[in-house]
Each structure stands twice: as structure tokens, then as C-alpha cells.
Symmetry: C2
């Protein structure tokens, strides 16, 4: 099930209404936790509560972690701290447990942690919550399989059996020295396949070439880049002293990649909060209003520019206002998008500013000349008059070149001053280019009017 199955959803809601708990349980028990979560996301709040109470205890935590944040919070707030500690957190890995806790108010978090049976789990969660959001530390899980390089293979296998018992996937076995510093890795495949005797030492089997790791305080962005670049399924996380403190698995990195892409896309489209189509009208409205207000202010600025030119003396100039404004905006957005993606993939850095600008000058010049010639021909052919046609054509050339340079420059500058360059895309660049484009247009218009 990928799209929520409407027939299934209807069957479930009908059975809730008729109180057919036994039939419901049969239906629900056939679903994967992720699908069950999707059902809960799509029913009414009271129905979600009803279904969640029905779900077998061992499934509850898996379902909870897959829910949309607002639905999860809704279900959590209806539970006592003891229920959260006992029914939910016990079944979760430390990273998922910390994610759940991060949604709760601080006082409740303390209460829940106090109630946890396992001291180790309590201290793991406390540790993970101590890393700021957006760092590798906040993404990692404490669960991992670790052996020491001085152990024999026999001891290592015993320890791996013990440690792996709690893990869903093993991926990689980390090898550390006596001080818990990462020195290598051991693949389960190698262990299973190697011809080593049980008395072979781990240090003889471990691989230490290309051992890629990340510091707990490094940004999450670097995590996804490392994992993507080196095709990793798990990335070990080290503290400042090089001690192994956790690992990040690829499924969590994939979630970060998708979230970041959605965020950049929304920023480029003028949406300032992380929203989805299923959010309510008010949330959607609020996420979109800030950019509209910028557009509004830009529009008033545009009115002043046009007013300053005394449009009534040459009203024909009005005809091409939309063209000039639109083209400036379009070109600026294109240029900014290329910079933002280049910065995101590290294929350009802020030091490249002059080479970027000169390349954009080339692109702007070619596109500007093509568009200028086309509009000159079209405008003359359609009978808009020589003077106006020349004005539009010349202004368009200037606007396209300027917009290309401006759209490149702004995100590079933002990045240099550690401001998210994606903020520059969308309505901001469009609005700025609108106004400056109009200024160029009317300046050219005045000059041409003086000539003829």
C-alpha cells in the first residue's frame, strides 16, 4: 500500500462506527506499521485515538514513530508518562525514542525519562537530546555492534551475538581500541566467510582502509553528503576525542535528504513554513502570507518607479511593463537556482564568485541578445512603433544581463555570510528584479524618448 487505499480506509471507519473491534483487529494486524500509521494520519482525531488503543502493544511504538508529527503529538498527549515510558519508548531504538521525546514539553520529558526501567536507555536518550537539531549527534542512534581489536574471533562472535540481539540491522561491526576509539570495521559477511579460526584476532580481520566517520557536532548536511558520496549504509559518529558514540543509518539519512529537498523546493516557491497539502487552511495561509507581503511591498515600490517616470506623457511604455518585470524575475530565479543547487552539492563554493559571475555574464548576454532581437522583430511586426520597440529591446537586454548577475550574486553573498542561500530564491529575487527591471526600462525609455 503506497497510496492510502480508500476502500480499506472506508472499511476501517465503518467498523469503528459499528464497534466491530474483533474484525478491526484482524484488518489492522495485516498492515505494516508504516501503513497503519498512514491510516491513523487519514482518519479523524477521535478515530485515531480509538484505533491506537486497539493496536497490539508491540506494534504501538513502530506505528507512533511513522506518524505525522501533529497526529503523534495528539496521541502522545493523551497518554500518561508511565504509558509513554512503558508502552512506547521500551520498543524504540534510542534515535526514535529521542525523536518522540523532542516533541514533548520539557517537564514531561524529564518525567518520562525518570520512569524508564532501563538506566542505559535513560542515559542514551538524555545524551541524544543534548545535541542541537541539525547535527550528526541528533541524528544518530546509540545502538551499534562493537568489538575490540584485541579480542579473538570467538569472543567477538559471542559479543556480536549478544549485542546484535537488540538490533534490527547490523550493517557494520565497529572495531575499537581499549579507549573506545574507532580503529576499523568488520563486515558480518567477512566474519561469516573468512577462513579464520576462532583464535584469530579481530585486528587481523578488521579493515581500516577508507574508514569514514563524522563528528557528533558536524552538520546533518555533511552526513547525507558523506553517505551519498561513499554509498554508505551506516556512518559511525565520533565525539571530539575520537571515541565511538553512535551510528547513523541510511534510512534516517534518506529522511533528511527528502526533507531538505522539500524545504528548498518550498522556499523557491515562496512557502516559508514546512507545510503539506493535508495541513489546515489556516496553516497553509500563514505559510504563504510572508512572501505575499514582500510581493505587495515590491508592487508598491514598482508603482513609485512608474509614477516617477510620469507615465501619462508616454502611456505606450505601459504595454511592456509585464514583459520586463516577468523576464527579470524569470532570469533571476534561474540564476539563483543554479547557484543554490551548486552550493548544495558543493560543486561551487563562495570563492568562485568571479568565475560564476563571468559565466553568468556569458549566459545573460546570449539569452539577452536572442530575446532582444526577437522582441524587436515581434514588436515592430505587430506595429508597436519604432521608438517603443527599440526601448523594449534594449531594456530587455540590460534587464536579462542584470538579473542573471544579481540572481547569482545574492545567494553567493548569503552563503558567504552563513545565511541559507535558498532564502534568496523565489519571491525575493523576483520582487527585487521586478523593481530594478522597471528602473532600467524607464531609464532606457527616457533616453530613447530624448533621442527621437
Amino acid at each position: 500500500m503506497l497510496n492510502i487505499d480508500k476502500a480499506l480506509l472506508k472499511a476501517i471507519r465503518d467498523q469503528i462506527e459499528s464497534g466491530a473491534d474483533r474484525e478491526l483487529l484482524v484488518l489492522l494486524s495485516e498492515l505494516h506499521a508504516a501503513d497503519l500509521a498512514e491510516v491513523l494520519d487519514h482518519v479523524k482525531r477521535e478515530e485515531a485515538h480509538y484505533l491506537f488503543r486497539l493496536i497490539p502493544k508491540e506494534l504501538k511504538s513502530d506505528v507512533l514513530i511513522e506518524l505525522e508529527e501533529d497526529v503523534r503529538l495528539e496521541l502522545l498527549t493523551s497518554m500518561t508518562s508511565a504509558e509513554i515510558a512503558g508502552d512506547v519508548l521500551e520498543g524504540l531504538d534510542s534515535d526514535d525514542a529521542a525523536d518522540v521525546m523532542a516533541d514533548l514539553p520539557e517537564a514531561k520529558v524529564e518525567e518520562v525519562i525518570e520512569l524508564l526501567e532501563s538506566d542505559e536507555q535513560a542515559s542514551d536518550i538524555r545524551d541524544l537530546l543534548s545535541y542541537p537539531e541539525g547535527t550528526a549527534g541528533a541524528l544518530m542512534a546509540k545502538e551499534l555492534v562493537q568489538v575490540q581489536s584485541t579480542w579473538t574471533v570467538a569472543r567477538a562472535i559471542r559479543e556480536i551475538r549478544r549485542q546484535a540481539d537488540e538490533l534490527e540491522h547490523v550493517y557494520t561491526i565497529y572495531v575499537t581500541d581499549g579507549e573506545n576509539r574507532l580503529t576499523g570495521r568488520l563486515s558480518l559477511k567477512h566474519l561469516l566467510l573468512s577462513a579464520a579460526t576462532t583464535r584469530t584476532l579481530v585486528s587481523e580481520l578488521q579493515q581500516d582502509k577508507e574508514l569514514i566517520s563524522i563528528g557528533a557536532n558536524e552538520p546533518a548536511e555533511r552526513v547525507t553528503k558523506l553517505m551519498e558520496r561513499y554509498d554508505l549504509v551506516a556512518l559511525p559518529v565520533l565525539d571530539d576525542e575520537g571515541r565511538l558514540v553512535g551510528r547513523i543509518t541510511i534510512d534516517d539519512a534518506v529522511d533528511v535528504i527528502i526533507e531538505d529537498a522539500e524545504r528548498d523546493y518550498q522556499l523557491a516557491s515562496g512557502i516559508s513554513e514546512d507545510v503539506e497539502s493535508r495541513d489546515d487552511v489556516w496553516t497553509l495561509t500563514r505559510a504563504r502570507l510572508p512572501w505575499l507581503l514582500i510581493g505587495l511591498a515590491g508592487g508598491i515600490g514598482g508603482a513609485y518607479v512608474i509614477g516617477a517616470f510620469e507615465i501619462e506623457k508616454n502611456p505606450g511604455m505601459a504595454l511592456f511593463i509585464p514583459l520586463i518585470a516577468a523576464m527579470g524575475g524569470n532570469v533571476g530565479v534561474q540564476s539563483a537556482a543554479i547557484v543554490v543547487q551548486g552550493l548544495a552539492s558543493s560543486s561551487i563554493d563562495t570563492g568562485d564568485i568571479f568565475s560564476r559571475l563571468s559565466k553568468e555574464l556569458g549566459v545573460g548576454l546570449i539569452n539577452g541578445l536572442i530575446c532582444a532581437v526577437l522582441i524587436l522583430g515581434a514588436s515592430a511586426a505587430l506595429g508597436f512603433g519604432t521608438s517603443l520597440s527599440i526601448t523594449v529591446s534594449l531594456a530587455l537586454l540590460c534587464v536579462i544581463i542584470f538579473a542573471a548577475l544579481f540572481g547569482t550574486f545574492v545567494p553567493l553573498m548569503l552563503d558567504r555570510y552563513k545565511i541559507d542561500p535558498a532564502l534568496a530564491t523565489g519571491p525575493f529575487i523576483t520582487t527585487a528584479n521586478d523593481i530594478i527591471g522597471l528602473m532600467i526600462y524607464f531609464a532606457v525609455g527616457s533616453a530613447i524618448a530624448d533621442l527621437f
Copy 2:
């Protein structure tokens, strides 16, 4: 190394110039294949050829597969078919080998395949090349570890050892019946940890619950959704008869996720080809021109709309042309972005068209009213005159509501007719809303002018 290290790059280029091959080899041998590929991507073409010749044979294929497509093609075309078959393809998994071949001209592909030593590899590559791009089959690799459910654990382990020898990662062991149909899976962890004797049957250990797979002809989009949703590291691929034909690993799915996100982002920004900042001026120009031509046509349309209104009789109307055009564009892009993301994440489907439109009506109404009141107040306070202020305010309300509905409707319609809804975002929606916004503005202006 994530950003290319400029000092390293300079050292390498200096040593190429002075022909210090031995020092170069030392430098290169310390790099990961992905980093070596980045170096080749960043040096001049002749330098890339020089370095590639120096790289040890066993590294060549790993480097080649990580290169940018144009650099890879450049290096490949300088090699003979025998070199490609012997030096490159031998070291690659079937999916990577097929990717390399997909870049080459068809005649060369046949030549290279004929020259492969292993008949199995030749038939694997032929099979993979037979799936159209964008399908699960084109993404999968033929390499996987597979046991039969009727085997004993002892035989299974022997077979796994043999099969896994060629694989980098094992992830999951697939269990099939006598007809090669997938019946379950076995985790390496379970095998290592289970208390099973060597005479236990595979069928007793295999898991068949939540066995997720995909058909070879299903779209790549579904692959990434399944893997993301169910947190999979490998996904088995079945043919139409349910026989296991390959598996897709998460690193390849991550590449698809990132490519798709970049593509959607570029479409929303008016860039029609997959380009990067490092592409040459001509490629960048060509990718951007189509959208500029749409904008140009839209601008001429706008000129006709304004011309039809006889702007010279009421030149004040010109002042707010940029505001109306910009706001229509911004709102339309916002609405389309929410639909495109909703469709991509399957949280809305085309059947929801009326509920989506009514929600957008709400959002448009609230944002429209807020903006209309603000512009009415601002315009009156700034002395733009009552009649013009009322016109702008009323028109803005209508334009925002219309643009919200239009921006929602168009991508939903495109999706219904199997056209990529992302095409609707960016300049297309902006341009259409520009023109229609102007029509609304001047219609309202005429009506108000008649009133006063």
C-alpha cells in the same frame, strides 16, 4: 574530502606538468575512488586522460562509475572495446556495467558485450539494458544472494559463501522455491545468531512476513517510495511470473531521490534540462532559453491586454501593473508547489480535485482579503486616489483567489492526463497568471471607471 581540496588539485596538476608520475601515483593511491573521480571531473580533459591512464587497473572501474557523465563518456571513447570489456566492465557490478554501456553508441555496446569473458556477465548486461530507463528493472543489479527454502542451513551457508564472495554488501539473503519464485528472506544476522543446527531447513528460519518486492516494469518512483516508506536497504525485483530477477540497493535509490528532487527544483525555477553550475555557457543558455521564450510570448500577450484597455485614457492604472502581475504569479506558484509535492508524496491524488480546490479557495480568500485590505490602506495613505485604490484592492482579491485555484487545477489536470505536474510550476503558471491577472485588473478598472 567533500569539497574538492584546492591545494591537492593544484599539487596534482603541477605534478602532471612536471611529469612526476611516481609522486602522482602516491598522491592518487591515498584517495577514495569517489574523490579520485572528483579530481578527474575538475581537471582539464587532457589532464583527466593522463591521470586515468596512471590509475591502477583495479581502481579504474570504481572511478569511472563515479565520474560525471560527460567526463566518463570522454574517457570511454578514447578506449578500445577490448579495454572497456577487460579493464572496466570486469570490475563492475551488473547495474553499474549497464549504466556505463547505456552511455555508449549501440554498435559499440554490442562489440564490447561480445568481448566479455564471462557469458553470465554478458547476458546480465543484455538483460538490464532491455528495461526502459525509469523502470525498476533498469535500476536493479543481478548480483544477489539466494538460497532455496528446501535446503539445509549447512548447504545454505556453503552457497551463501560462494555467492557472497563477489558481492560488496549482502544485506538480505533471498529465499526462493524450486521455480525461482521469491518466498521469503533470511537475514545474515539471523543466520549468524540462530541456535539452528546445520540440519535445520531454510524454510524453518526464513521470514515471509512483510516481504516487500517490486515488479521489474514498475516505475523507479515507486522504488524510492517503497524503500523510503519501509526503511529498506535492498528491494527484490520480480518478473511478471513472480520470479526473482534482481535487487535494488539503497545507494542507487538515494541517487534517484536526489536526481528527482534536483529535476523538480529546476523545473520550478524554469530550467528545462538537467544542468549544473559547471556546465559550459552554451549548455546553461540552452537549458534556460525555452522558458524565457514562454515569458516573452506572455509579455507580448500582456501588451495586447493593456493595449485593449486603452491605457492612455487612464494612465494611473499603469502604476499597479507590476503588483497585479507579480501577485498572480506568486500565488499560482505557491499553490502549484503544494500540489506537486502532494502528488509526489502520494498524500493527494487526482480524485481529490474538489476538496483541494475548496481548500485553496479558503486559503486564497483569506490571503486575498488580507492583501486587499493592506493595499487599499497603503494606496489611499500614499495618495494614489480613491478610485485607483479601490480598483487595485478589488482586482488583487480576485487575482489571488483565481491564481490559487488555477495553480491548483493545472497540475492536478496534468497529472490526471499522465503529464508530469512539475511542468506546471515555474514560468508556465507565472506567465499564464500574469496575463489573466491583467485581464481581471483592467476589467475591474473599467467597471470602477464607469461607476465613478
